[in-house]
Symmetry: D2
Subunit: 337 residues, 4 copies
């Protein structure tokens, strides 16, 4: 079985694993107060050009979103995202579990726009309704699309004019930033977002996300929230060691570029053969539409997820590449369609 199912099917990138092996028997302080976390945070602040940021390391994305948003919002404040937003659909109501509504806009390409925000805000203007307070975006999005710099800048302006925050879920940020269609520089994230996270789980780490707090208002006492949500790893240095390695010699970017390259080959090959796509994706998740019979046959050799019906006799599937994907896998897939 060839896995094109996810970017978290394997363990860690060999260099990340080596770093863990090398440091395994060292004794350090717990809870992320060790030297490895400090080093990793320093590298992240340098890459994203935000020397005054606070960087916190968490284990996974749902936990990061929940811990961050619940720390940022007052009880009646809400997040605003697209209908595809991961927090709206695939995190089992973890934001609502902390008391906050998620307001959503219809956006089949997964991209939030200022117009959507304005429409939602126009319907939430009194204390009988929740108060929109934070914009949630993902880059790359849940359907593989990416934001462009002008779009990010416009969302940032839209948020700040309304005294709202802009938060970016970077579970697949490495894929977005290394996409051939990307024009957002790492420092733009720090410039436009109030907070964002740098995804490790889906790009070479065993696990781990690095939350970067830019806006000073969001920084105080954050570690209390980290602990309260079970996000303060006892052996916190495991996160530091991994991110330290990922941000050594640009590994985090290099391996995402590899995933993108193979995803592009896959998508281009599929399109060339005449199949259509749910949406054009410039990142490591692609969404081709195939006849049901072909999907069934492909499932014999390849592991992937079905997105759902896409018209009479057609099914949309999701194919994901990662640092661990081999070009052979892509070639084998293209050979079968």
């Amino acid at each position: 079985m060839i896995y094109l199912k996810n970017d978290y099917s394997e363990g860690a990138h060999p260099r990340v694993l080596s770093a863990l092996i090398e440091t395994n028997l060292e004794a350090t302080t717990g809870y992320g107060e060790d030297e490895y976390c400090a080093k990793a945070a320093a590298k992240i602040k340098k890459v994203f050009a935000c020397p005054d940021a606070d960087v916190h390391f968490l284990v996974g994305g749902t936990q990061t979103n929940q811990t961050a948003l619940s720390a940022f919002l007052r009880p009646w404040e809400a997040a605003v995202g697209t209908e595809l937003a991961h927090i709206a659909t695939h995190e089992t109501g973890s934001i609502e579990a902390t008391g906050h509504k998620v307001l959503t806009a219809h956006a089949p390409d997964g991209l939030l726009t200022p117009a959507m925000v304005e429409e939602i805000c126009s319907r939430h203007e009194s204390e009988h309704m929740v108060k929109p307070k934070i914009l949630y975006i993902s880059d790359s999005t849940e359907v593989g699309t990416i934001y462009h710099k002008a779009e990010l800048a416009a969302l940032s302006e839209c948020a700040h004019q309304r005294d709202m925050y802009l938060y970016l879920d970077g579970a697949r940020l490495a894929s977005a930033l290394t996409s051939p269609e990307n024009d957002i520089a790492p420092e733009d994230l720090a410039k436009y977002c109030d907070a964002f996270y740098v995804g490790g789980t889906k790009n070479g780490a065993l696990f781990g996300e690095a939350l970067v707090l830019i806006n000073d208002a969001l920084k105080p006492d954050f570690r209390y929230g980290l602990k309260q949500h079970g996000g303060m790893l006892a052996k916190g240095r495991l996160l530091g060691v991994q991110f330290d390695e990922l941000f050594t010699d640009g590994l985090w970017f290099t391996i995402a570029g590899h995933a993108n390259k193979l995803a592009k080959k896959l998508q281009d090959g599929i399109v060339e053969k005449g199949y259509s796509l749910l949406v054009h994706s410039p990142s490591n998740q692609i969404f081709p539409i195939f006849p049901d019979a072909l999907v069934k046959k492909l499932a014999e050799s390849f592991a992937f997820e079905e997105q759902g019906a896409a018209g009479e006799g057609l099914t949309c599937i999701r194919l994901v590449t990662s640092w661990a994907t081999k070009e052979d896998a892509v070639d084998a897939f293209l050979a079968q369609i």
Copy 2:
């Protein structure tokens, strides 16, 4: 610096690390639905003699306690524990964060008794107060003491007579079960508890706790809670691989025995030299009381935590041993006092 500070200062036991290395490049299904988790769960159910149990793997203890208790309780129901209970003191109100009060009894030795439960229940008998619903105990406790079988049986009876649950936090369960003073068999846990967790983080794993649900009432839909609290690890097999190895050839027990042996040597040596203890501990955490000056001097060579003042000019410190502690460290400590 010699670490006697914690049982999570190092990485993983070499055998556990090897298992992770060997399986690193395998592609598996995510979210704990892989074969390694299945194998590990089967081994745990066998060791604890509970073939019908549900086993769920989580990353850490605070997360496990929070996810479990919030799934088990209705909104107005409360947990009952000692004043030292980890959920009452050192988890930043994570149980309250899910809406539930923690009722506590004074118990300097960390052991909950039916009499304490009865006293608390007698003060909570109407709907103007929270409803005590779950007993929370730790074995070993937060001060290193352990339960005996008769005590566990009595708490279980006390709980079930009142239609309450008995939950055991097993962060250091391996140390308790391998204590020379222990008379609780693994199968007793399944017999007396409604749920308990088998700690990995503090006994050889990089991270990980295995929650065992015995009572059928607690099983339905638990994975929803797991996901909602950010406890469903994307690369869930990392937990399966580690627990599979820990429960191969009794590794989980063997290495805890090692920690206990060194803790006993340490405690006995300290007592022999005439120092007193906060409490006699038969497990891997000990709490000697030293003159302040000695504590200061010890801190130059050893990493440990201070528990607080223990009378005029005296300080109680906590020393912890683990699978990674070397006998040399113990000898060096005893030589200094």
Copy 3:
């Protein structure tokens, strides 16, 4: 200024007020454990033909919905309603504040259908998403429409087939049940719903809603939730006295019929004059669409709420009648358009 703004603009119906005056100096037990509450509950159980129901009295609708739903749902379970559902739009996220998501379907007439429920359930089939567990409907709805018996029966069947509950928000239930277009008998509510509430605030009481729990699974310990949410009124008998009077000689029905009659006259008159409606309403809230200039002029003499723009130069307004509305007010309004 003539008020057609709401059905809670005045105080209590004179008979209800008299009952409060007559009993004012009696001393009773607090917290709803008095004889008046018992009498009122008995009358409600008789009218709705549910002798085994539990009846709880609360002060207002938001509190009732929040207290009920949070008691009925496990942490990851969600409510399902229309996009207009009061809990989804006008209760400041009070359901989310207790941890639960509200899933919504597009329904401009405010009526939930089994097809909508099925579509939502089909998108929520794994533990990565919330679990739809309770159907929330209002009768009359937020736009004045009402359910018919066959629709209610179908929703009930839909809910129960999926192991879900059917909950009916009866803030304006009296208006629905006395609508000339209604075919639901009071006993049908007990037959088809798992819980519903009988609105007092908007139909003659100073304040108060009577929550009726039909499904045995929803009954245990409910008063704990009542107290926890601040819904247990110290002078609980105030609620009993009012509902006792409202359900004496059919007052609750009679006065709602009065409101409906005037609303019908208003709506018929408006339609006769050639204006259109947002939706045809058979109950005490109507939604005519007028030219902006007319709305402006009407606002000089009448108090009402604007619903929003309804096309170029048109505005939809809401007019509400109540037990306190006089026919003169309706005539005056019709004379102005």
Copy 4:
């Protein structure tokens, strides 16, 4: 049966009821945005000398405490009170239900002191524990005692030095302020507290508490919380009308003085006859200790609450007077003992 059971056994003071009757058929805007609420707020701000305060009207005490504290605290912040604090014991965990721990100090007289606060804070100094943020006190307390001005000032200083808030639960504030032993002026509350509430339910209103927000940091968006917790009464003017009357000609003070006078006569009479007290109370709740047989006999003619055993063969009971208590009742009671 003569009621000495509570200060909420009857309806409203006749003058308050008259005000409701007189205004009953007026139509006003809902949700507390009417003229009566504005007038009542102005009077309260004048009496308590806080022209810049925000005043919000809520229905009951539990709701007020829950709505206020949950609006004031970040997720990991905790309230600090005595073990007798109403929020700690008799509100069914309503503070925990919003996510916050209540830390308590042992204080048999119900009075919190700076020393208690310091002791609690000294045990909560890292992010592994909740962060003490608000001091909760009641005046009069749950056992009838009252604060003196120096004590209130010291608590205020203690709170503000630690960047904490001081919140005063004034369910029985009128009784405290009119106690012969009181030296706190109304304006002292505004001077020393960050927020406090002025109790109506237990002093002449049908229901209602007026929350006064002094500290500017606590004011923004409070009405969102009011609505979210179901505390925004549709016919909000009912609260305005009542408080307007209570603060006309000093009625709120006068009737509390009456209750205190009778309580004093009762307590003095009991002491004269040789019985002891749980605690000396200068307010409208007293706690005499009687032989069990006497308690049993008294219960035939008088309604009161038992506080619990108070030594071999002795029971402590609670007697409460109110604006509605008649001197005859006190005389009758004293005659029986």
